[in-house]
């Protein structure tokens, strides 16, 4: 566990100060996956870089904890920039993670080689060793950069938006990998992201950037406290219930009878179209059965046809 107190983050250009985060106190728990959440421009990347020691803080904490924390070999970083080099091999890229340990002749010792191979193995990308960086997909490239950070053998790994530009599968893969590294290999992992859903599902601790301060806590607690609602004023989505709120554009109610997933998704479809779905008697009654939908003794095999018919009837 590391405590950092009184850290101010931002940019200074001449005498002009752009304060992003004001006198922050945070504690980083060991062996956990911590997600740093915030909207774009809230300063989460800058905070991450400041904490990692690659961006100067606006005001140094009075004590030595931050300097002690940023000592060589303590933190490894993974940033978002995409590499577009056809001559850089994946192995050489991961090897650069060992450069803090090798002399200027870059002679890799057995320990170095072991650390590199271990990093490939942990991330599960042994098959990429002989590839070149420009042959990789965005997701693979992110995996390689994580392997590179692992090769540094630091107790802390900081990642800035590692899931940006990735599709849902890759995002899940990266985040579960990070979670595994934290829980099974005792790494402390700090990830900045603006993807609320993934952070809610996988993070052990959330750090939420809000009004130039950071609120921290376990995800569930932050949801229940309503802190997340304040930080992410999502229009039409209720974070506590996980439901979308649709505007009731049509002045009609539907009584929906049924259960399970089919019921839920059917309800969603009607609500999306602007109907209000209720549980009591209404002028339109729809039964959700296992194989079909039934309305006034008409059967539909596909939900789309039912919807279209209903809307046509509406127009008439």
């Amino acid at each position: 566990m590391v405590f950092v107190q009184n850290l101010s983050v931002g940019y200074q250009k001449g005498k002009e100060k752009n304060l992003l985060l004001d006198h922050i106190d945070v504690s980083l728990p060991s062996g956990k996956l911590v997600c740093l959440l915030g909207s774009n421009g809230s300063g989460k990347s800058t905070f991450l870089k400041t904490l990692a020691g690659i961006h100067p803080p606006l005001s140094q904490p009075a004590d030595q904890t931050l300097i002690e924390f940023q000592k060589p070999g303590n933190i490894a970083i993974v940033l978002t920039d995409k590499l577009n080099l056809s001559n850089l091999s994946v192995y050489d890229l991961v090897t650069t993670g060992r450069y803090a340990y090798v002399n200027w002749l870059i002679q890799l010792s057995e320990t170095d080689k072991h650390a590199i191979n271990q990093a490939f193995h942990l991330v599960g990308i042994d098959q990429l060793k002989d590839k070149f960086v420009d042959e990789l997909s965005d997701g693979q490239q992110q995996m390689v950069m994580i392997a590179r950070a692992l090769a540094q053998e630091t107790p802390y790994i900081f990642l800035d938006e590692p899931t940006a530009h990735l599709d849902l599968n890759n995002r899940m893969e990266i985040m579960t990998l990070l979670r595994k590294l934290a829980h099974q290999h005792n790494k402390t992992i700090l990830v900045s992201t603006h993807e609320l859903d993934l952070a809610l599902q996988l993070a052990d601790v959330l750090w939420l950037v809000q009004d130039k301060k950071i609120v921290s806590g376990i995800p569930e607690e932050l949801v229940l406290d309503g802190v997340l609602d304040k930080a992410f004023p999502l229009k039409g989505f209720n974070l506590k219930t996980g439901e979308m709120n649709y505007e009731k554009t049509k002045n009609k109610s539907i009584q929906l009878i049924g259960e399970g997933y089919r019921y839920l998704w059917t309800k969603n479809a009607f609500e999306r179209m602007g109907f209000s779905v209720i549980n009591e008697k209404a002028e339109i009654q729809i039964e959700v059965e296992k194989e079909y939908w039934k309305i006034d003794s008409n059967r539909y095999n596909r939900l789309q046809l039912l919807l279209e018919d209903l809307i046509n009837r509406e127009i008439k």
Binding site: L85, N87, T96, A100
Partner: protein, 334 residues
């Protein structure tokens, strides 16, 4: 993969030796091949005129091409890495133009300066050194590499305009001799001068080698350098200083040799297919040597019919090779 790179480097090494020896067999004076063998194998036994030509004319010229090629290519390699730009060469910092201005002053203003014409190397080096004195503090102040690149090009432009003014007010003979300098030359250097180029290459090489870890990480961005506890400013200055030394010393003695410093590191990068500067430094030196030796070899072979300046030859023979490689590799990358 590493083994493959080592084989390729060994091949380049053998090629350098082969081209270097072949280079001694050709020159403006025709010497029968068996006489060249004779002189090379038994240097002490003969004291013919051939002996003197080979030892005092051809050997220094061969060494000049060998060392200058290596130096320029190494300078270009570091500039491409520094600016992350395949179009960067040894001349992007404005050193070559600075040297040109120095030479122009020595030629056009020699009556005023009371110096003997043709004492160019010192003026060329002073010009290059002067630009270096300007570019180093600028590099220290301006952290952005693209801005530095533009400033280098601007310095070049200023120096070239000054040369233009001097040319405009001077007589035709002086303009002619300045033009001759811009064509570049390989021959006519003494062993001492070759030795000085060698020293420049050695120091530049050493600086580059010490900096090779930093150059490998350079492409990832400055944050990663800081994270690995490397000093960015120091790494950057080392690249610039090494380039200044290499380019300055070669331009002083051989004139502004274009092309080699841009093309050979680029070809070596894409042929070795590595971004590890330990190999790239060696490869660029060998490749640059081969490039300049072969160009000078062509000049020597055709010298009995027509005299081609080295700067024309490098582009004339070099450009088709580059085009060929681009077609073969589809894409050139740093």
């Amino acid at each position: 993969m590493e083994l493959k790179i080592k084989y390729k480097l060994a091949f380049l090494g053998i090629l350098v030796v082969f081209v270097a020896i072949l280079h001694l067999f050709f020159g403006s004076i025709h010497i029968p091949f068996y006489s060249v063998f004779d002189v090379l194998l038994f240097p002490n036994s003969t004291s013919s005129a051939y002996h003197d030509v080979i030892w005092w004319v051809r050997l220094p010229r061969m060494l000049t091409a060998l060392l200058a090629g290596a130096a320029l290519s190494l300078a270009g390699l570091q500039m491409q890495t520094l600016f992350r730009n395949p179009l960067a060469g040894p001349d992007v910092l404005g050193l070559t133009s600075g040297a040109g201005l120095g030479v122009a002053i020595s030629i056009f203003l020699s009556p005023l300066l009371l110096v003997i014409k043709g004492f160019n190397p010192i003026f060329a080096f002073t010009g290059a050194f002067f630009v270096m004195l300007i570019i180093l503090p600028i590099a220290k102040m301006i952290k952005d590499n693209n801005s530095l690149l533009v400033i280098g090009i601007m310095l070049s432009a200023i120096a070239s305009s000054c040369v233009g003014i001097l040319q405009y007010i001077s007589d035709a003979n002086d303009v002619q001799s300045y033009l001759m300098w811009t064509f570049g030359k390989m021959g006519g250097l003494s062993f001492f001068e070759v030795f000085i180029i060698g020293i420049g290459l050695l120091v530049g090489l050493l600086l580059a080698f010490i900096n090779s870890r930093q150059m490998n990480v350079w492409v990832l961005g400055e944050s990663y350098l800081t994270n690995l506890q490397f000093n960015i400013a120091k790494a950057r200055m080392t690249m610039i200083l090494s380039t200044c030394l290499l380019t300055g010393v070669v331009t002083a003695y051989c004139g502004p040799i274009a092309f080699v410093g841009l093309v050979s590191p680029l070809l070596v990068r894409n042929w070795l297919k590595t971004y590890n500067h330990q190999w790239l430094i060696i490869g660029a030196c060998l490749g640059g040597s081969i490039c300049l030796l072969v160009c000078d070899l062509f000049i020597n072979i055709f010298s009995s019919q027509v005299s081609i300046p080295i700067n024309v030859a490098t582009s004339l023979f070099g450009a088709p090779v580059v085009i060929f490689f681009i077609f073969k590799l589809k894409r050139l990358s740093i």
